[in-house]
Structure formats: structure tokens, C-alpha cells
């Protein structure tokens, strides 16, 4: 193995590379979920949206030969799923959590069904930026292969901060999520705002899915997602509804997921599956640590069904 050349240094390097690579889908899905939750709804269906995005993006890239077109179609598929969620939730006596779970199952099931013919063929994948050209060490060059979507996501996080603070649209989303009555009194349509916010959230989650099938691992299979969609929902709570925290948390979760393979590459094989489970342990651990039976979550939009 090439990594042997730098020995143990390969581990932090691989974790950092993994943070960027595996963190990208977390980043997109969590930013999408953040926007949705800021408007006062939880969309648990993003797992299904992610898988649908992965499938439709892969299929489009395969048929047209353009991976970027695949990303776009994945986003559009995602926003359609978002529209479905928002539309169902705007009906009377419909619970957003239940709809989310239904859409999660529906999305994954539909993607597996429609994606059957896509398992064999190889679609073109997204190009990477080679930022490690200066190094002669293969491991460094490998780790510095950054994908374009990550850079888009990294810029998106501060952009969403600005959007929520300094634009009319962002302020309306926050208002709807924090006090639907106040928003209604000012003449904004709560359902309409939530529809758009959920569709935007779905768009980002769809793009997160296309990253899985078009960059890493870069193929379509039914085991493609290992729960990134649902983990990202938890991640938003952990990030306390702050876009920049979502960014850092995505890197953390991505890095944790790379720990197992990285240790394996330096010859530690025992506990491989245990290390692979690191992101899930981390989720559980962080949730236990940051939750309290006595205190309310700070920073949560007041209209969220979990905080009311």
C-alpha cells in the first residue's frame, strides 16, 4: 500500500480526506433540512429524497453523459419530493413526522425499483480538483483531491447565514418558523413559505444524493446510502440550527466515518466494524450529551412540532 510510505501519518490524513469526502452529503442534506426546519417543519423524508436524488442523478448522467446535468436533475427530483411533503403536511390534521417517515420509505423503495437497470452500467462521474499536485506523496495527493460539490457546499453555509439574516426571504422563513401567527398577521402565507422552504431543502438533499452516486463511491447500488439522510436530520439539532455549525458537524461526522478504513490501511484490522460504526456512536453520544430532560433545546424554531 502506498500509505505505508508515511506510516501513521496516513491516519489523520485519511480522516481529513474522509471528512471532506464523506462529509459532503451530510453537508448538503443538513443545510437542506436546516432551511426546512427554520420554516417550522421537520422533513424526516430526506433519506428517501437522498436515495432518489442519487438514482435520478446517476441515471441522467448515464443517459446524457453529463454528470453536472445529473446533479441538477437530482436536485429537481429532491424538490419534487419536498413539494410532496409540504403539500401533504399542509392538509389539516397531518403530522409532518409521520409524512416524513412515509416519504423516507416511499423514496427508497421507488429509487430501488426505478434504479434496477442502473446497477450494472457505469455513468461518468464528477471531476475532482487536484489540489495536491505539489506533493510527491501519493497519499497526500489522494487526500487533496477535492470535489467541486464540497466547495459549493462550503460556500453555501455562510450564504445561508446571510440569507437568513439579511434578506426578506430569509427573514420571512424565520418568522414563519418561529411564530406562524405573527407571519399570518402580517399577511404571509405560512403554507406557501413552508412549501418553498421544504422544496429548497429537498433540492439540496437531492444534490447530496447525487454526490454519492456520481462522486463517492461513484456508482448506483441499493446499499448506497448508509443512513446519511436521517443522520443529517439529527445533525441539524446537534448544530443548534446554525448553518456554520452544520458545516463543522458534517466534517466531524464524515471524518468519523473514515476512521475505520484509515486504521485498516495502516494494518489495524481488529475492531474494523466497530470503527465503522463510529458515526453512529458519535450521533448517539452527542445526542445524549447535548440533550436534557429538564431543559428545552435552545435555538430551536418555536413552531417545530418537537419543541411545542
Amino acid at each position: 500500500m502506498a500509505d505505508v510510505g508515511i506510516g501513521w501519518w496516513g491516519v489523520p490524513l485519511a480522516v481529513a480526506a474522509g471528512a471532506v469526502r464523506a462529509g459532503t452529503p451530510f453537508l448538503f442534506v443538513s443545510l437542506g433540512e436546516l432551511l426546512t426546519e427554520k420554516s417550522g417543519r421537520i422533513n424526516l423524508g430526506l433519506e428517501g429524497t437522498l436515495v432518489m436524488g442519487a438514482m435520478s442523478g446517476y441515471g441522467t448522467a448515464y443517459l446524457t453523459g453529463s454528470p453536472w446535468l445529473g446533479v441538477l436533475v437530482a436536485g429537481i427530483t429532491g424538490s419534487l419530493f419536498g413539494a410532496l411533503h409540504a403539500g401533504l403536511c399542509s392538509l389539516p390534521r397531518v403530522n409532518d413526522i409521520a409524512v416524513g417517515i412515509a416519504l423516507m420509505l416511499f423514496g427508497t423503495g421507488l429509487a430501488f425499483y426505478l434504479g434496477k437497470p442502473l446497477i450494472q452500467p457505469q455513468a461518468p462521474t464528477l471531476p475532482a480538483l487536484h489540489l495536491g499536485w505539489w506533493s510527491s506523496i501519493a497519499a497526500v495527493r489522494d487526500a487533496l483531491k477535492i470535489n467541486g460539490l464540497f466547495i459549493v457546499g462550503a460556500l453555501l453555509a455562510p450564504a445561508i447565514v446571510w440569507l437568513l439574516r439579511s434578506t426578506r426571504w430569509g427573514m420571512i422563513v424565520r418568522m414563519v418558523g418561529d411564530s406562524a401567527d405573527a407571519a399570518r398577521a402580517m399577511g404571509y402565507s405560512v403554507d406557501w413559505v413552508r412549501l418553498l422552504a421544504t422544496m429548497t431543502g429537498g433540492f439540496l438533499a437531492g444534490i447530496g444524493g447525487s454526490f454519492l452516486s456520481l462522486y463517492y463511491p461513484g456508482s448506483w447500488s441499493e446499499g448506497l446510502s448508509s443512513g446519511q439522510g436521517i443522520t443529517a436530520v439529527a445533525l441539524v439539532i446537534f448544530a443548534r440550527w446554525s448553518p456554520m455549525n452544520c458545516f463543522y458537524a458534517s466534517l466531524l461526522f464524515g471524518g468519523a466515518g473514515a476512521l475505520g478504513p484509515a486504521l485498516q490501511s495502516v494494518g489495524i484490522h481488529s475492531g474494523y466494524y466497530l470503527f465503522n460504526a463510529a458515526p453512529y456512536f458519535l450521533t448517539l453520544f452527542i445526542m445524549v450529551l447535548t440533550s436534557s430532560s429538564e431543559h428545552r433545546l435552545s435555538g430551536a424554531p418555536s413552531e417545530l412540532s418537537i419543541t411545542r
Partner: protein
């Protein structure tokens, strides 16, 4: 002053300013069979402060909602500055210069005051230049008699500051006719006087016209120019305040309905200490200290009243006494024994609870009145034998309580959530007071109830005291405490800051302590 207002109007689109006259002419509104309002004609002169008096359900909010465009009246019309207008939506009302401050605040809690003010404008730009907005709002504030912290999230403001922010918001939106719905229910007497005084001065200066919905005669007498009284959807009287007495107004409000008189306060020597708190500390939902070292003893046969503006730790204190929350430090004792508000302890020590918002805190809305009335004793004989419950016994007991406490319900089997607020309160009171009571904790027991219900519930609480119960009465209504309590303490920021027997209590001092001075 008027010069700076002139400068301000360059920024805001509405050209005209100054107080508006508003008149309703023969307004009627029906909801199904219920006649909420019939032929109500009220004339509010420009630059005056007009009070709208009436009990709950008298039609005050219906009238106001017709003016504000929430309801379309079935009959009659609304005139603004002498022109008849059909106001179709609240937005339309705002555009005409009509604004309303609601009893429940409509500011967005996690946004700052400045963000709220900017978002309230009709013409929010797509990209907000915060420096520009701040400058504009500062200029506006300079023309106002009071101010609020701009960068604090609204959820962190005290009730008085929220109220000021709501009023400022309406004025910032250039409302020239301002409706205030029970504006002082969450304020200390001093804050109320301050805010109402400023509002009155602005009205008399011809900048705004004010319509205040209230049931406090003191405020009507002190601040209003004219008054209109509604009863059961009809205008039953009114006129210049100068020509009326509180008694006359009360008679108009209540009509000739009979009010159950209160048992007199029986003079008795204070008994043994029944309920005792020692250095009690409690956290609120966010983990901040809400009750901070409260020590208080309540003796048998006395009512101790806790006064204070809402949000100073009263809710958390009552929740701890009722077992809805754990104390973080200190101890509670009942009859000298340690008390943790477990069900068994409450049963043994005969502790009764009348928490605020009883439908939320003391009832299961979808369960029947009979079931709700049985909560304290449902697993004891005669209601149960072993694991078996006797629903017949529930129902029999409930029928008796419904009659005795005059609970208006279609049957003991009706879900309790279908009852009106006053009747839910009576049902809970019936449950809590029907057996022997050694300790009674009541929190805002008459909030939002009409005259008859208030008198009834006050009489029950006084009767419990006279039978020898130790009563802890938490209320935001100072008049209620002055009427009922033997001893008054004031809570501020989770600490008890004042204590006096009621007959020696100094109202000015209480008001100052409630405000934290």
C-alpha cells in the same frame, strides 16, 4: 417634536398623519345561532382615549375584529374619518392607519426587536441594509416617549418591554388609530400607568386615537376620556368618563344578574404551619434559575398571596409544588414532614392544586368531566376495588359535584375540553376542594373568567381558608390578592422581595418591588 415627525414621513409612504376618528354604525355579527354583536354603534373621536368595557363574551373582541377586518360584519358599517369603508382584511385595516396591539404578543420570539420592527413594515426590501434600518428606527425612536433595547431577542424581554415594543411597532407602522386589547394585564401598576399615560398624552397631542379594551375601572377612570359598555353583544351604556362612577359602570357591565356573595373572612388566630418552603431553588425550561432561594411558611387558616409580574418564577414555583418539576435545591415540608409532591404524599397530606390554565395543567382534555373529576381518588374505594374501576361511581360522584359547584356541562360524559374556561376551572375546583383540604395552592385561578365565575371561585377559596386550609394564592392580579390574602409577598426574579400583612400593605411599595426597585 412635530418637525422630526415631518422628517420621518419622507421615509414612509403614507402621506397623511394625525389622529383618526372611527365610528361603527349599527354593527351586527352572528356566528350560527349565536348573536355575538347586535346593532352596536360606537363613536370614537379623533385624538381621544376611548375605553371599551365588558365581561368576557360581551362582544368586545367581535366589535374590534370587525373594525380590524378579521370579520365581515353582517349588518352595519365602519366609518374612518367620516368615510364609510368596507374593511376586508387586516392588511387593509393597516393600510388605512388602523393598528391593534393584541393581548397575546405577536412579536416573533427569536428575532430581535429591530428585526421585528423591520419585518412589520409593509415594504421590506429584498436585501436588508441593517445599518440603514437601524438609523431609520433610531430616528423614529427619538420622537417617541419611550424606548426598548433593539438588539435583544424578544423572548428575553420582560412583559412590560414586550408591550412597549408592540406599541412602538404600531406607531412605527404609522397607525393613527390604535386598539389596545387588555394592554395592562401583564404589567405592574407602575408600568401600566407609565405606558397608558404616554399613550394618553400622544392622543391628546392629536397624534393618535386610542381604543382600550379593559375591565379595570381604575384605568378607565384615570386614562380614558369616554367609555362604551357592552353586555351580551349589545351596547348598554357609555359616555364621558367624567360623568360616570365605577359603580355605575359595573352595573352596566353586569346587568341585574345575581352574584353569589363571598363568605366573610372569619377572624381566627393563625394555626400551625402547614406548608413550608426552605431555600427552594428551581430551574426553568432553559436551565436558568427561575426560583432563587424562596423560603415561605403558610399557616392553617390563612391565605398567603404571591404578587408579581408574570415570568418572575411563579409558574415554576407552582409546578414544583404540584410535582410537575423538580427543585434543584432546598426543601418543601407539609405538616413538618418532607414533601416531594408525590401523589401518595398529596393524598396523605390533603394537598390540593389549582394550577393556571387548568385545561392544560390539571385535566386531560379528551377525557370526560366525570373521569377528570375522579383523578385524585380514582384508585381508592369506593371508586375502585383492587385493579377494577367503577365508572358508575365516577359518574354518580361527578353528578353531585356538577350540581354543587354549578359546572355547566351537557353531561358528566362530555369531554372536559368542550367546557368553557370558567366551567373547566369550576370542575377542577370541585375535584380539588370536595374532600378535606389542608393545603391549597392556586395560581391565577380566575384568569379570563367573567364576573359571576370570579365571585364564585373567590368565595370557594375563602371558604376553604375559613375551614382551616393553608392557602397559597399566586396571582398577577393585585386587586385579587388585596381582596383575598391575609398576607402578601412579592416575587421578583425568583426571590421574595417584600412581605406584609394585607391590611398593612403599601400599594406603592408593592408596585415598586414588583418592578424590581
Amino acid at each position: 417634536m412635530s418637525q422630526s415627525i415631518g422628517a420621518l414621513s419622507d421615509h414612509l409612504p403614507l402621506p397623511s398623519e394625525g389622529a383618526l376618528a372611527v365610528e361603527t354604525y349599527g354593527i351586527g355579527k352572528r356566528f350560527g345561532d349565536l348573536i355575538a354583536l347586535a346593532n352596536a354603534s360606537v363613536k370614537i373621536a379623533a385624538g381621544s382615549v376611548h375605553a371599551l368595557l365588558g365581561e368576557n363574551g360581551a362582544g368586545k373582541s367581535t366589535l374590534v375584529k370587525c373594525i380590524m377586518g378579521y370579520y365581515r360584519p353582517d349588518d352595519g358599517s365602519v366609518m374612518v374619518d367620516g368615510h364609510e369603508v368596507a374593511i376586508t382584511t387586516p392588511r387593509h385595516a393597516h393600510a388605512l392607519g388602523l393598528g391593534m396591539v393584541y393581548q397575546h404578543f405577536t412579536l416573533v420570539p427569536h428575532m430581535t426587536v429591530l428585526e421585528n420592527m423591520v419585518m412589520a413594515r409593509a415594504d421590506v426590501p429584498p436585501v436588508i441594509n441593517w445599518r440603514e434600518e437601524r438609523k431609520r428606527f433610531d430616528e423614529f425612536l427619538a420622537t417617541m416617549p419611550f424606548t426598548v433595547p433593539l438588539d435583544a431577542p424578544v423572548s428575553t424581554l420582560a412583559a412590560g418591554e414586550k408591550q412597549k415594543a408592540e406599541i412602538l411597532k404600531q406607531l412605527y407602522l404609522k397607525s393613527r388609530f390604535l386598539i389596545l386589547d387588555e394592554p395592562t394585564s401583564v404589567l405592574t401598576p407602575n408600568e401600566a400607568d407609565e405606558i397608558l399615560g404616554m399613550i394618553r398624552d400622544m392622543a391628546h397631542a392629536g397624534r393618535i386615537t386610542v381604543l382600550i379594551i379593559t375591565h379595570k375601572f381604575r384605568e378607565v377612570m384615570a386614562f380614558a376620556d369616554e367609555v362604551s359598555v357592552l353586555r351580551r353583544g349589545k351596547l348598554v351604556g357609555g359616555g364621558a368618563v367624567a360623568g360616570l362612577t365605577p359603580d355605575a359602570m359595573a352595573r352596566m357591565m353586569v346587568g341585574d344578574q345575581e352574584i353569589r356573595g363571598m363568605d366573610g373572612r372569619k377572624a381566627s388566630a393563625a394555626g400551625a404551619v402547614c406548608l413550608e418552603m426552605r431555600n427552594l431553588e428551581v430551574d426553568d425550561d432553559e436551565g436558568y434559575k427561575a426560583v432563587d432561594g424562596v423560603s415561605l411558611a403558610v399557616r392553617a387558616g390563612e391565605i398567603v398571596g404571591i404578587a408579581g409580574v408574570s415570568g418572575n418564577g411563579q409558574s415554576e414555583l407552582v409546578q414544583v409544588l404540584g410535582g410537575q418539576r423538580e427543585a434543584t435545591a432546598g426543601e418543601m415540608r407539609v405538616h413538618g414532614e418532607p414533601y416531594h409532591a408525590r401523589r401518595s404524599e398529596m393524598l396523605r397530606h390533603k394537598v390540593s392544586m389549582l394550577p393556571e390554565e387548568p385545561l392544560r395543567n390539571a385535566c386531560v382534555g379528551r377525557m370526560s368531566v366525570a373521569d377528570n373529576m375522579a383523578f385524585r381518588r380514582f384508585d381508592q374505594p369506593p371508586y375502585a376495588s383492587g385493579p377494577w374501576l367503577h365508572h358508575g361511581a365516577f359518574r354518580r360522584a361527578a353528578r353531585e359535584l356538577i350540581a354543587r359547584y354549578r359546572v355547566k356541562t351537557s353531561s358528566p360524559d362530555a369531554p372536559i375540553a368542550t367546557l368553557s374556561g370558567g366551567n373547566v376551572q369550576r370542575a377542577v375546583l370541585a375535584r380539588e376542594l370536595s374532600g378535606d383540604v389542608d393545603v391549597l395552592v392556586a395560581a391565577n385561578p380566575v384568569f379570563g373568567l367573567d364576573f359571576a365565575a370570579v365571585a364564585d371561585i373567590h368565595a370557594q377559596i375563602m371558604a376553604a381558608r375559613n375551614r382551616g386550609a393553608a392557602v397559597l394564592l399566586v396571582s398577577e392580579d393585585l386587586d385579587e390578592l388585596l381582596e383575598l390574602a391575609d398576607r402578601i409577598v412579592v416575587i421578583f426574579n425568583g426571590k421574595l422581595v417584600y412581605e406584609a400583612p394585607t391590611h398593612q400593605a403599601d400599594l406603592t411599595e408593592i408596585g415598586r418591588r414588583m418592578a424590581g426597585h
